[in-house]
């Protein structure tokens, strides 16, 4: 199978993630969509790594995972505290500041 | 290394500004007066230094004298270069003369509020006012001295800030809707001038990109010996950039609309500072920078600018006639006069330019005299509306008399300073552009109209109710007015010393531009033709 197809898949996933961020309301889902984007990147990286025949891409993928994990820690902390304050996970409810 | 007189002349008011601002707030009449006398002394000191500069200046010496040169920001080729030519000397002197009078005239404009128990409001308003005036003076002086484009630009822009606070913070209307008007005027002043300055900044940067220096002397030298050449597009663009800023400041029609607001809302003293001192930086810079840096473009655009000037002369005068507010009337009169100054500058004849330079001085002194007396009048009634006054000459004859003399100077009565300059400007323009010269002379009639109408409405006729209590000029006010009037007389009767100072620099500027006065028609080539036609006519 042509490895380039993986790139298409990666792009598709990335786009799905991005669109998900735009259309979903729940902060957690939103955040999951971001994670999907990161993983799409990982897929692309690994694919390129395979194409180029060097390991850089794969190593980067590991870094990405770690970063994503760190993001989860911070992100969930923030989202949960907001949830506890507002009893809502909808990002559309957090719009006190505008204009 | 000689004594850096120019730096000192600019630094003294700057130091004075800082010291004045640092004075403790007044607690009694004594300390209040101290807070005003200190800045006054500094301004007088500056006047002395200005006189020293004038005395040391040799009209037929080098182009720029008493020069100082220090590297400032070498990365951008910026240096702290000072030097004065004839025009600079004269304008520094004008600034030095006018500022003490402005201070004296504004003596009570920023007094601390005293409540019923005699307690002084504790703030630094008084000091602030005088410190700002000194700051403006310092910046104006250094702008007149700068021979580095960048250095000039810096102070050209920076002086907006103290001016802004002077206009916005100390107008004669303090409450409610009126205060809004005042801050509107201040903001308009600042933004308008800032816009001009920023456009100039673009041009300044463009200039540097081409020349890689900001030194006026090096650029003009390079232009003259041919080692530097602007493409005509670049030169035109740069000229317009510079000119825009100066035309806003000067102000040239149709960029003048900030001036009536600013002068209308400011105290009379500050209004004088705006029109008589600060705005002169604009016309000064046209002569010093526009003409010298961009001779070709100056020639290209001269006709257009002349037309705008003439429009400004007539437009300003007509609008002055239509004003209901004394200070706005003076502002429009000034717009008309600035039209004359710019007309003289861009006529590119030595008469026109010398006239313009004298005009700057005369306009400064005459407007100061006229407007300060008007200010004394307004301070008595707290109104700026012409309609509120009438018959004042009956109750305050000296005030009426001085007001009339100031007005006569404004309308360029021969024997007073402005006549000399106005006539030179007209002659200078007429030499090259007869039609414009003739149209501009209509300004003479209109000037008489607005001056005399104002005088008639405020001073003559039966005493209007409310004016009975208008007292005549007090000693302090006479001290302000009398020397200004004397100066106007001297400048009108014997302007030669000033003319002798400015003439050489005018000639140098024109020769740098490769311009010379058109010879009288009756010389060499023309004479034969002339005789034959006349012969035929007889």
């Amino acid at each position: 199978m042509n490895p380039v197809n993986y790139l298409y898949l990666a792009s598709l996933l990335f786009t799905i993630g991005a669109v998900g961020v735009l259309v979903r309301r729940n902060a957690i889902v939103l955040f999951m969509c971001v994670e999907l984007m990161l993983n799409a990147c990982n897929l692309a990286l690994v694919t390129f790594s395979r194409l180029h025949g060097n390991l850089d891409g794969q190593i980067i993928a590991f870094f990405t995972m770690v970063v994503a994990a760190a993001e989860v820690v911070v992100g969930l902390a923030i989202i949960v505290s907001v949830f506890r304050t507002r009893h809502s996970a909808s990002v559309d409810d957090t719009n006190l500041m505008k204009l | 290394m000689s004594f850096p007189i120019l730096t000192v002349a600019a630094a003294l008011p700057a130091v004075g500004a800082v010291l004045t601002a640092a004075l403790p707030p007044a607690t009694n009449a004594r300390s209040r007066d101290r807070n005003k006398v200190v800045p006054l002394l500094f301004s007088l000191g500056t006047l002395v230094l200005a006189c020293v500069v004038a005395a040391r200046y040799q009209p037929h010496g080098a182009r720029y004298q008493m020069t100082e040169n220090h590297s400032w920001i070498p990365q951008f080729g910026i240096s702290y270069s000072l030097g004065v030519d004839g025009l600079g000397v004269v304008l520094i002197l004008l600034t030095g003369v006018l500022v003490p009078f402005v201070m004296l005239a504004s003596w009570h404009d920023a007094d601390p509020v005293v409540d019923d128990s005699g307690t002084f409001e504790r703030n630094r308003r008084t000091q602030g006012f005088f410190a700002l005036i000194l700051a403006v003076e310092a910046m104006v002086v250094i702008a007149f001295e700068a021979t580095d484009v960048f250095l000039f630009y810096v102070f050209f822009e920076a002086m907006l800030i103290p001016m802004y606070f002077l206009i916005g913070g100390f107008g004669d209307r303090t409450k409610g809707e009126d205060a809004k008007q005042r801050s509107y005027a201040a903001v308009k002043f600042l933004l308008y001038n800032l816009l001009g300055g920023l456009v100039m900044l673009a041009a300044v940067i463009g200039l540097y990109t081409i020349t890689h220096t900001f030194s006026l002397v090096s650029i003009t030298t390079a232009l003259q010996n041919g080692s530097l050449h602007f493409s005509s597009t670049a030169e035109n663009a740069l000229f317009l950039g510079f000119m825009f800023a100066f035309a806003v400041k000067a102000p040239l029609w149709p960029l003048h609309t900030w001036l009536p607001n600013a002068m209308g809302e400011a105290t009379p003293g500050v209004a004088v500072l705006i029109t008589a001192v600060v705005d002169k930086v604009g016309t000064f810079a046209m002569l010093r920078f526009c003409l010298q840096l961009f001779p070709q473009a100056s020639k290209t655009f001269a006709p257009a600018i002349l037309v705008l000037s003439v429009i400004g002369i007539l437009y300003g005068a007509l609008l002055a006639v239509g004003q209901k507010d004394i200070k706005r009337l003076v502002a429009y009169a000034s717009i008309s006069h600035f039209g004359f100054i710019i007309l003289g500058i861009f006529a590119l004849t030595s008469q026109g330019q010398s006239g313009a330079e004298l005009y700057m001085v005369n306009h400064g002194v005459s407007t100061a005299a006229w407007l300060l007396v008007a200010g004394f009048l307004m301070s008595r009634r707290g109104s700026r509306l012409i309609a509120d006054y009438g018959g004042v000459q009956k109750v305050a004859p000296i005030m009426a008399g001085t007001f009339l003399v100031g007005g006569l100077a404004i309308l360029s009565l021969p024997g007073l300073g402005p006549f000399v300059s106005e006539f030179l400007v007209l002659v200078g323009t007429f030499e090259r552009y007869p039609a414009l010269g003739i149209v501009a002379t209509a300004g003479i009639v209109l000037a008489a109209l607005y001056v005399l109408v104002l005088y008639q409405r405020t001073m003559t006729g039966p005493v209007k109710p409310g004016n009975e209590g208008v007292g005549d000029l007090k000693a302090r006010e006479l001290v302000v007015v009398a020397p200004l009037i004397a100066l106007l007389l001297v400048l009108g009767v014997y302007p030669k010393p000033v003319a002798d100072i400015v003439n050489p620099s005018v000639n140098q500027t024109l020769s740098q531009m490769g311009q010379s006065d058109p010879p009288p028609h009756l010389t060499s080539a023309h004479i034969n033709a002339a005789t034959t036609t006349t012969g035929g006519g007889q």
Partner: protein, 542 residues
């Protein structure tokens, strides 16, 4: 046993060499952060404040000292290195920007440590601007208890240290991976710091959520861009990318599908750009700025506004100047558009703002546009100009936000512009200093803002971007309007009877404001030395 055989089968790994000395500025800060965490765990609560502030300042001081040492050692002038296997560049721009960031961080830490502004807690303990207990629900009993007992979130110091560490690394990163990691390292603590305001916690939390979600979103773009560029060049080393882009490296024909595919490269560059433009707050990636600036605790806003911008522009400069100068024909026009849009939109939208912090946020957007004009110059003068601008801008920003912390009423800071009416009459000195900062923002001569603006416009003009300069100049005029408006409100409006008071700060905030003012004036009046420094440092190592 198996281990042994495996080890024998794999070719020996050469141990990576780490130049500890060259990395030491970052290590010092990260070390301080770690020590801070330990202190959080082991130092008794009543000593934590002092300990944390001490540790943070010590770490920053050490870091700054080491930066100076490296600079004096010649790293900024006649030598440069790629440390840590080519991951970190130690060169002029790195050191200059790191120096600025550490100084900014010092000032920020001083402001974080300010405890005189908030009224004392029930127990009489002095408290700072941060939430007493971040985990407690706003308005809950737990929070009230924490507040009365004078608790404080001393975690902010280690968090700050991590952020600073990331910021130090960001402009020095010379491969995309390091850049990405640094981006995250400094972003994540900032998300948290945003959420920690003592007052108006709802706004603070909202700011954190918005910042976090959008930040993560932009990181994803950055990462995607990284992947694409990696796909094109086969490496994430900036210098290697440059080689491939400029055709110096040989390309395996088999990889023509990817390596030869410029679309990958261009889209990748664009995606990287999204990540960086988000951080600098360029239009249309700026929308987080006003909300986050408004919601975050003001000292954090100041820190963020100043330091993030320095770090992010540093990284952008390195990326564009080192990796993609060969693509300048492609990215410059795009950046032109972004710069124009940023300058104009920032200035225009700010005109109608009524909240001081939001106003400063839009002002920072406009300034991002001005700085971009210098970036576009793509030469040494542009680099030097941008670095100078960043230094000048960051101190003005810090000072301005520090002033904002002092204008307070019963509900904490009074940030609505109408509340500032007549401030100039009530406390002329503070108002004058704030006016100075505003004038510097507006680019009035004799302030640092003018020198910076002049430098970047001059660089842009020198590279032929005259139109950009003109747009910049015109939007400066528009921008001037709203700075002036604040001055009008402060000086020319009558004070309100119920107006805010100006708190008397401790020397900490005083120092921050004072330093800001001094730098503003010095860089405006006598910028020679600092311009020289910036110009000297303006050479990237490849």
């Amino acid at each position: 046993m198996t281990c042994m055989t495996l080890a024998a089968a794999i070719p020996p790994i050469s141990a990576p060499h780490i130049e500890y000395l060259q990395l030491s500025p970052m290590l010092a800060v990260f070390g301080a952060a770690l020590v801070g965490i330990l202190a959080e765990a082991f130092v008794p609560r009543r000593h934590r404040y002092a300990a944390q502030v001490g540790i943070a300042l010590a770490g920053l001081a050490a870091s700054f000292g080491l930066i100076l040492y490296l600079a004096v050692d010649g790293y900024a002038t006649n030598k440069a290195d790629l440390a840590a296997m080519g991951a970190v560049a130690v060169d002029g721009p790195s050191l200059f920007l790191q120096g600025v960031i550490t100084l900014v961080a010092v000032v920020a830490v001083l402001q974080f440590a300010e405890r005189r502004l908030e009224p004392r807690s029930g127990t009489g303990a002095a408290v700072d601007a941060f939430a007493p207990e971040a985990a407690a629900v706003p308005g809950s009993d737990a929070e009230r208890r924490a507040a009365t007992s004078g608790h404080a979130t001393t975690e902010v110091y280690p968090l700050t240290m991590f952020a600073v560490g990331g910021m130090l690394l960001f402009p020095a990163a010379s491969d995309l991976l390091t850049m990405f990691v640094a981006l995250e390292v400094f972003s994540l603590p900032l998300y948290l710091l945003c959420a920690l305001a003592r007052r108006r916690r709802l706004l603070s939390q909202e700011a954190a959520v918005k910042y976090f979600l959008l930040g993560a979103f932009s990181s994803a773009f950055f990462l995607f861009g990284l992947a694409l560029v990696y796909g094109y060049a086969g490496s994430v080393q900036l210098s290697r990318i440059a080689d491939v882009v400029e055709g110096r490296a040989t390309i395996t024909p088999a990889l023509a599908q990817t390596t030869g595919n410029d679309a990958l490269l261009l889209i990748g560059l664009a995606m990287l750009g999204v990540g960086l433009l988000f951080k600098v707050g360029a239009v249309p990636f700026h929308m987080w700025t006003p909300d986050v600036y408004q919601g975050a605790p003001t000292p954090v806003t100041g820190f963020m506004a100043a330091a993030t911008k320095v770090a992010a522009f540093g990284a952008m400069l390195r990326l564009l100047y080192v990796a993609f100068p060969g693509l300048s024909w492609d990215w410059r026009p795009v950046l032109w558009g972004v710069a124009i849009l940023t300058m104009v939109a920032g200035a225009v939208i700010a005109v109608t703002q009524t909240d001081v912090k939001r106003l400063l946020a839009y002002s920072s957007v406009a300034h991002a546009g001005f700085i971009l004009t210098g970036v576009i110059a793509l030469d040494r003068s542009g680099l030097g100009a941008v670095m100078f601008y960043l230094a000048a801008y960051s101190f003005v920003t810090l000072g301005a936000f520090a002033v904002v912390t002092l204008v307070r009423d019963a509900d904490g800071e009074a940030t609505h512009l109408s509340r500032w009416a007549g401030l100039g009459r009530r406390s002329p000195l503070l108002a004058a200093v704030f006016a100075l900062f505003l004038l510097a923002f507006a680019g009035i001569p004799l302030t640092s803002g003018f020198t910076g603006k002049f430098a970047v416009f001059q660089a842009a003009s020198g590279s032929g971007a005259t139109a950009l300069v003109i747009v910049g100049v015109l939007s400066s005029a528009v921008a001037a309007f709203f700075y002036i408006r604040v001055i009008v409100v402060m000086f020319f409006s009558d004070p309100r009877a119920d107006g805010p008071t100006v708190a008397v700060p401790s020397p900490l905030t005083g120092a921050a404001i004072g330093l800001g003012a001094v730098v503003t004036v010095v860089l405006g009046v006598a910028p020679e030395y600092f311009l020289h420094l910036a110009n000297q440092a303006s050479l990237f190592v490849r």
